[in-house]
Symmetry: C2
DNA sequence: TGCTATGCTCGACGAAATGGACAAGACCAT
DNA sequence: ATGGTCTTGTCCATTTCGTCGAGCATAGCA
């Protein structure tokens, strides 16, 4: 499905998505038209979902991060889901099996702000919040193998 | 700290980090050297941590995702932290306040694989695993405001 | 053996990035 | 006010890069 060359290319792009085709093609030992074509196919196949930029939330003033587990009260599941989607401070959220229904990541500037955000959920769900102290594993890819 | 122009630029780059300087500069209404200079500064200030590529784990064969909460047994904290860092299937992990000490995201191909991975933690920590059913909020940025 | 698919290279041309010289505005101390 | 300087911008010439068309090599297969 993905050959070694594709994986090499992806590995390089993860570290620098703005590398020029030329430099990329030199690193992997192909001509730039072939690399260009491979990129096109990787995008087409949705292996590459997007080229994007990794921004430090702290640089935007969000010095604090929390992980929130959310268990909607009976009958509130869809309302809570919508509520979560409409809170832009929640930057990712998964719906999961188990007692908790949603697990999300929240960026905020102060405890007051956190309190305000959680209050909006409190009427419709039980929440359990853990403040992030550090990130032993930064976002990375699972093995390409 | 970040002016409106920077935020506009970041907003565009989040959606397409490989956009040409020229097109980017047209969209924001500056010349390309100035945009280039702004990018340089944004990288220098570490607002932009990296230009990267968003890859679908499913395209690499990881059809399943779980969120794992890990509570090391007494005295095992550092060993567990190292263990987590050395498990490449864990693609992000935070150290948090509260009963759980670590919360991580895990990509895997089969229940057997999940079982194997959790077994490696089981001797040194209690774990609590939630399988991801869907992702109501895909990775996004908190408000730039 | 010969047909076709795929995936590559090469070279040329137009497009884009870069670097240098310089201008406009904000701010400050004199 | 005057002049210095710092920041952020433009413009333009040069260099670098991406894309396109044409053509070649290999693998799979009737």
């Amino acid at each position: 499905m993905l050959d070694e060359m594709d994986k090499t290319i992806l590995g390089i792009l993860i570290e620098d998505a703005r590398i020029s085709l030329k430099e990329l093609s030199q690193k992997v030992g192909l001509s730039s038209p072939s690399v260009s074509e491979r990129l096109r196919r990787l995008e087409e196949k949705k292996v590459i979902r997007a080229f994007t930029v990794d921004i430090d939330p702290a640089a935007l003033g969000y010095n604090l991060t929390a992980i929130v587990r959310v268990r909607p009260l009976p009958g509130m599941l869809h309302i809570v889901e919508r509520l979560i989607q409409e809170m832009p401070e929640i930057t990712e959220c998964d719906k999961v099996t188990g007692d908790d229904c949603f697990i999300g990541k929240l960026h905020f500037r102060s405890m007051e702000q956190l309190d305000g955000l959680l209050d909006r959920l409190a009427e419709k769900a039980e929440t359990n919040t853990s403040i992030v102290k550090s990130s032993p594993v930064k976002r990375r890819l699972p093995p390409l193998g």
